[in-house]
Structures are given as structure tokens and as C-alpha cells.
């Protein structure tokens, strides 16, 4: 019941922030004591993360803090050495990346990974693969069921492309469109699998101020669909402007979590992250 309310509620910052106060039922993704080692290097060390449903959460931290590693463990590209990742209470251990997509987590990559030699439309159509397992025989004989399925896939892809404003580039190869558009295309591809949780790895890197602003507005516009967003971000303007909940990581450990304004004034965070930046500037 509260879930439905949440979906329909207009995105007022206050309404969402209220929910951050630890209602466990609303935790959609949770990592408990997550640990990942690469040889002797402990990239992620006993890391606890909570992502609340219907919100935008951010994971921030200096370079090398282990943020992307957390993402890769959550999406199944790496297996955790210790600890658990729970999606709506279900353990994701041992699941392959494509199974995790089926469970409702879609992601983008820090360095854009599109299918370069396929058209924008095909890229987005490919994103829906988990929802339409291609059947060999009906594909070979192009049965009516197959045609209908293809048509549905194209309809959804069309909607997603229009949503990010790239419909006009549908027949261009993905590698030929502008960098900012490639970022949006990658998000459209992730969205087309109709996920519950969208994980974005530095979506604003390489974008100019105007494009970042548009991105923030776009991401906020996704929330009424019932989507939850988790992002890694370096651009503090983006993080502070968009997040309902911020988790700060350093050296593989969680050093703080809270609302953006709390984080902004947290001395530990300033020391580990913001403070460093100032030093560099001096």
C-alpha cells in the first residue's frame, strides 16, 4: 500500500527525505559486510550499503575508494569474497550478471560500453533481452508470435529512445553519435529492461554543466515510474542536487552516510574527500 503511494507521489524533495529515516521495508538493495579482495589488496572491506526504494542514492568517495568494485559485485561481474548482497531480501550470491538483470537491476558503465557497430535503436532493443528470450525455431520461421514479440520490443525501444530524446538518431550507429548522447543512450538501454533499480556509474563524467543539469532533471523525472536509482558520482553539484541519501566510502570502508546536507558538513567526509580536493587546489 505504501508502495503504491510512493509511486504516485509527486517528486517533492521533502516527501522523499522523510522516508529516508530507516524504514527497513523500503530497503530495496542492501549489502552486508561486503568484502572483495584482489590478491592482497582489499578493495572493499566490510561495506554496508542501503538503498531505499523510490529514491536517488549516491555513493561517493575519492578515487580508488572501491565504488566501482561495489557496483561490479552488486551486478554480478565480480563475486564477493565475503558478505552478502540482498535485493529485496533475496541473496544475489552466485548469480550471473544476466540473471541479476532479470531480477531487476540494470546498470551503465563508467567508460561507456555501447554496442558500437549497432544502431541506437538496436542498442536499446538489446537491452530488453532478458524480457524476451529469443526462441530459435520461431525466430527461424518468423512465426506470428515472433513478429508480435519483435513489434513489442520495438515499441518499448521507441518509447525509451524518445524519453531520452534520441529517437531522431535511431538509425545511426552508436559509435557515431556525440559523447553526451552516448551516455543518454546507455541509460536508455539500461531502462529498456524495465528495471526496479538503476545503477549509474559516474553518469555525468565528461558532460558539460548544461548536460549535467539536464541529466539531473531527467533522472528525477524517472522516479515517478517507481524506479530507484543508485549512482556513483564525482561532480558534487550533481550529488548534492539530486541525492536523497548519500553514502561515503574511503579505502574500501564506509565512513559516513546520511542526507546530502549532513554529509556536506561531516568533518570525516571533508577530510577524506572534500578536504583533499582543496589541498589539490592550493
Amino acid at each position: 500500500m505504501s508502495k503504491e503511494d510512493k509511486y504516485n507521489s509527486p517528486i517533492k524533495d521533502n516527501a522523499i527525505k522523510k522516508s529516508s529515516k530507516g524504514n527497513e521495508n523500503k530497503v530495496i538493495l542492501q549489502s552486508i559486510q561486503l568484502t572483495k579482495k584482489f590478491g592482497g589488496l582489499v578493495a572493499v572491506n566490510n561495506f554496508d550499503l542501503k538503498v531505499y526504494k523510490g529514491e536517488i542514492s549516491s555513493l561517493i568517495g575519492p578515487n580508488g575508494a572501491g565504488k566501482t568494485t561495489v557496483f561490479n559485485v552488486v551486478t554480478g561481474i565480480y563475486q564477493a569474497d565475503d558478505g552478502k548482497v540482498l535485493l529485496k531480501g533475496e541473496d544475489l550470491a552466485g548469480k550471473k550478471p544476466h540473471q541479476i538483470v532479470q531480477k531487476g537491476i540494470a546498470r551503465t558503465f563508467q567508460n561507456i560500453r555501447l554496442f558500437n557497430n549497432m544502431t541506437c535503436l538496436e542498442n536499446v532493443m538489446a537491452g530488453q533481452h532478458c524480457r524476451n528470450q529469443g526462441r530459435l525455431v520461431s525466430s527461424i520461421f518468423k512465426t506470428p508470435i515472433h513478429r508480435k514479440e519483435e513489434f513489442n520490443i520495438q515499441e518499448i525501444a521507441k518509447r525509451r529512445l524518445q524519453q531520452v530524446g534520441l529517437w531522431k538518431y535511431r538509425d545511426e550507429l552508436a559509435k557515431n553519435i556525440a559523447y553526451g548522447n552516448q551516455r543518454m543512450l546507455e541509460i536508455a538501454r539500461a531502462l529498456s529492461s524495465n528495471p526496479e533499480l538503476l545503477i549509474l556509474d559516474e553518469p555525468s563524467s565528461g558532460l558539460n554543466d548544461k548536460e549535467s543539469e539536464d541529466l539531473v532533471i531527467f533522472l528525477k523525472s524517472l522516479l515517478p515510474e517507481g524506479l530507484t536509482i543508485l549512482l556513483i558520482e564525482h561532480d558534487m553539484n550533481v550529488v548534492m542536487g539530486i541525492s536523497d541519501w548519500v553514502t561515503v566510502m574511503d579505502g574500501g570502508k564506509k565512513i559516513a552516510e546520511g542526507k546530502p546536507e549532513e554529509i556536506y558538513h561531516n568533518p570525516l567526509v571533508i577530510e577524506a574527500y572534500l578536504g583533499k580536493e582543496e589541498e589539490e587546489e592550493n
Binding site: T75, I77, K96, P97, H98, V101, Q102, A106, R107, F109, R113, L114, F115, N116, N117, M118, T119, L121, E122, M125, A126, G127, Q128, H129, C130, R131, N132, Q133, G134, L136, S139, I140, F141, K142, H146, R147, K148, E149, E150, F151, I153, Q154, R170, D171, E172, L173, R189, A190, S193
Partner: protein, 324 residues
């Protein structure tokens, strides 16, 4: 408008090609019909390797091994048990496909050059096994001979060059239709996604392992059919027909034509099978010319002679049909 015109031209061109292929055996002499028959065999093999190499981007340099399995299955079952060769087409396909599934399951996660090395080994192991005559059924280096014509009982016997020409090209035609349908389906897109970026494909819900195996199994099945027809045409199979060089030639077919491009495969297999016949006079320089041609091609047309076009046309046609 221009797009539409292009499409009409394209369609006209394809119909013209099909008519030429139907009329050819009534114009040419038997020798040239046989040359075109082998063109068809190479086309079928090229199409089968195109699934693995062109669509999914897996380096398979042992593809002749699958054809050998199909050819030997036909040869042994036909000479020992007298089963008509036509009935053995599905059997050969299944044997080759099953073998591919068995052998490729453990190696399918290998990437690029590693997979390449393993498939070379696989092809050679198949050939050496055939040479070593296991259980006395493969006939050692001499192979198996005395295979029947393509036949189904005594009523349907394919024994003239013209008839076998039609058999192979009908199979090639059906394969092309099936493969075009596959290219425009979820499966074809999944294959291309894997070729473009494996990690991104997996993160978008594509079961990479399954689709890679599917490509190998389908490709091997088609190669098995080619093996069946080849065996019945030559009436003899020997291990030397399936050596590493032949696998390399298949690889060249795909590279010449363009990865994942079906018209490209036809051009590539024409280049491999017809040109040596056209330039018989220069037979001793054949490999030299071939090598130079390959180098020039890689420099000036790295995407192949007829790379696959993607986009507008195919989408709109499906679109219109579906909305009507």
C-alpha cells in the same frame, strides 16, 4: 524516397541473381556446373562459419572438423548400413551439432586468440583420429569410399551434376532465408551484442554462454549438412579433405566478404572457389595472387567487400507490416 528507390534496385538485383543461378546449369557444361556445385558447398560452409565468426566474433579455426564429422557420419552409416543419403542429412547435422556441443561446452568461456588455438587443436584432433582409424570404421588415411549418390530409395536419385547443383543451392537458399530471419531476431541481436562487447551484453541480460554455444551448435550443424552432400558427391571421404588449410580458407571467406554479412559470404566463397578455376593458367601463382589480394583488401577495405548494412530499411519494413 531515395531510400525506397535503392531498395527497389536492391530487390531487383537479388531477383536477377536468383534467376541467373536457376539458368546457369542449363547454359554451362558439366565441368562448370561442378565448379558451381563446389561454390555452393563453400557458400554453405561459409554461412555456417559466419554464424560463429561473423555474428558472434568467435575465432574458430577448426570448422572443417565439424564438416568432417558430418561427412564421416554419412559415409559410415551409408556404406555399412545402406541408409539412403537424404535420410542421413539430419543425422549428419545432429551428429556434428552434438559433437560441437560436447566439445565446445568446456571451452566456450575462452576469449579471442585462446579460443582460436583450442579450435585449431580440435580440428586437428578430429583429423588425426580419422587417420588413426578407430575401431576400423574410418578407413585410416584412405578414408571411406563407395558412398551412394544423394538418394531416397530408388525413386529419387540425384546423380547428374545439374541435379546435385540444384540440391546444394536449394539448401544454401533455405539457409540464407533462415539466417536472415535470425539476424533480425532477438537471437541475432544477442550474437552481435556479444561480438561488440561481452561485458555490456552480459550486463544487459544476455546469457553469453548460452548464445555462444548456440552459435557453435548451429554452425556445426550446417557444416555437417555440407559434409553430407560433399561425401555423396565425391563418393569418397578422406581425412586430407578436412585439413587445417581448408579451415583457413573458410576463415578467409568471411574476412573477404565482411563479418556477419550474408552477401559477403557468397562473394567470399565465389572468390575461393571460382577464381582458381578462372585463372587456371596461372595456377602456380595462385597462392601469391591470393595472398597479395588479401593484403590489399585488409588495407583498402578492412570491413570486407560487402559489409553488413544496419539500420533504416529493415526497421521500417517490419514497422509498416506490424502496424497495418
Amino acid at each position: 524516397m531515395k531510400e525506397h528507390q535503392n531498395k527497389v534496385w536492391e530487390r531487383g538485383f537479388f531477383i536477377f541473381i536468383i534467376i541467373v543461378f536457376i539458368l546457369l546449369p542449363f547454359i554451362l557444361n558439366d565441368y562448370w556446373i561442378d565448379v558451381f556445385f563446389f561454390f555452393g558447398i563453400y557458400a554453405l560452409l561459409g554461412l555456417s562459419l559466419n554464424i560463429v565468426l561473423g555474428e558472434v566474433g568467435l575465432f574458430d579455426l577448426g570448422h572443417m572438423g565439424f564438416m568432417a564429422i558430418g561427412a564421416y557420419t554419412t559415409a559410415i552409416l551409408n556404406t555399412r548400413l545402406g541408409i539412403p543419403v537424404f535420410l542421413l542429412i539430419p543425422v549428419s547435422a545432429l551428429a556434428a551439432a552434438g559433437f560441437a556441443w560436447l566439445v565446445c561446452s568446456p571451452i566456450i568461456h575462452l576469449r579471442g586468440d585462446y579460443l582460436c588455438i583450442v579450435t585449431i587443436g580440435m580440428g586437428e584432433i578430429i583429423r588425426m583420429t580419422l587417420v588413426n582409424n578407430p575401431f576400423g570404421i574410418t578407413g585410416g588415411p584412405n578414408g571411406v569410399f563407395g558412398i551412394d549418390f544423394l538418394s531416397l530409395g530408388s525413386s529419387l536419385v540425384v546423380d547428374t551434376p545439374r541435379e546435385s547443383y540444384f540440391v546444394i543451392w536449394i539448401i544454401v537458399g533455405l539457409s540464407i532465408i533462415a539466417l536472415i530471419n535470425l539476424q533480425h531476431s532477438c537471437i541475432g541481436r544477442a550474437w552481435n551484442c556479444i561480438r561488440e562487447d561481452e561485458i555490456a551484453a552480459e550486463s544487459n541480460g544476455i546469457d553469453v554462454r548460452y548464445y555462444k554455444l548456440l552459435a557453435f551448435v548451429l554452425g556445426a550443424g550446417m557444416a555437417g549438412i555440407a559434409g553430407n552432400i560433399y561425401a555423396s558427391k565425391l563418393m569418397i571421404v578422406s581425412p586430407e579433405s578436412f585439413n587445417f588449410m581448408e579451415s583457413c580458407l573458410l576463415f578467409c571467406i568471411i574476412l573477404i566478404g565482411g563479418m556477419g554479412s550474408i552477401p559477403g559470404v557468397l562473394i567470399g566463397s565465389a572468390a575461393i572457389s571460382l577464381f582458381p578455376e578462372l585463372f587456371r593458367a596461372f595456377a602456380q601463382y595462385r597462392m601469391l595472387i591470393f595472398g597479395v589480394a588479401m593484403i590489399l583488401m585488409m588495407i583498402f577495405r578492412p570491413g570486407g567487400l560487402w559489409p553488413r548494412k544496419r539500420g533504416a530499411v529493415e526497421f521500417k519494413s517490419i514497422w509498416l507490416k506490424a502496424t497495418r
